[in-house]
């Protein structure tokens, strides 16, 4: 993959990637642009591609609830990966697990694999949040029903049958 093998258009695209303003790439200008590209590549070899990776990540990344300032994606990705590998559970269980844990993590949904970073977790998109909300709702409803039943029992013991939630507090 040497620069001199690339076509003029490809050189132009690479220059644009590295943010190098350039004119037409013709015989007399080509050597100059190749040199510039080489310098830029040396300075930041993976920068061009990693920018793309970040772009893709940020496209599909949805921050759940972060109690910390944004930390690098890598550490969380690795932590996520390790956790999931350790549990070895199917996706649905993992996502409900995530809901009950203290949400100090950034949840990522990256559907695309990037060539540079192959450590990124691949997740389903969308269902995790709704599952968590549904679960919470269920728990809330269950708690309300139990409380209501408890109040009724208390009322039945003390006095005549009356459905009054407030009296339960006496």
């Amino acid at each position: 993959m040497s620069l001199s093998d690339k076509s003029n258009e490809e050189i132009g695209r690479l220059l644009a990637e590295y943010g190098i303003k350039h004119g037409p790439i013709v015989g007399s200008t080509r050597t100059l642009y190749e040199k510039k590209l080489e310098k830029a590549m040396e300075k930041a070899p993976a920068k061009a591609s990693s920018d793309k990776t970040y772009y893709r990540e940020e496209e599909e990344e949805i921050t759940y609830i972060t109690y910390q300032s944004p930390v690098t994606h890598e550490t969380y990705a690795q932590a996520d990966m390790l956790k999931r590998r350790g549990k070895a559970q199917p996706d649905e269980d993992e996502e409900s697990d995530r809901a009950t844990e203290p949400p100090i993590r950034i949840t990522k949904r990256t559907a695309n694999h990037s060539a540079v970073r192959s450590k990124e977790p691949v997740r389903k998109s969308g269902s995790g949040a709704w599952k968590a909300i549904r679960l919470l709702l269920l728990l809330a409803v269950l708690a309300a029903v139990l409380y209501y039943a408890y109040c009724r029992v208390i009322n039945n013991e003390e006095s005549t049958f009356s459905i009054n939630v407030n009296s339960g507090e006496n």
Partner: protein, 90 residues
Amino acid sequence: MSTTSQKHRDFVGEPMGDKPVTALVGIGEILGKKLEQQGFDKASVVLGQFLLLRKDSEMFTEWLKDASGANSRQAGSCAQCLREWCDAFL
């Protein structure tokens, strides 16, 4: 660089026409020969290169240093005279 040389004033004051490359500011005999070897035998051809690089002084000085072995000062003054010529006549 507020003091301009006579060469500079001569160049920027009129259309360059068919002037040789040594008429450019900063380009003497030796540098001129090197440029001629690469096909840049007239000032207008060097102007063409300047325009191809979108009149970007930084790019042009880099190119000129590579192509002719000019130092930063010479390349810089050449770029400046070309820029001023363009402002006046282009």
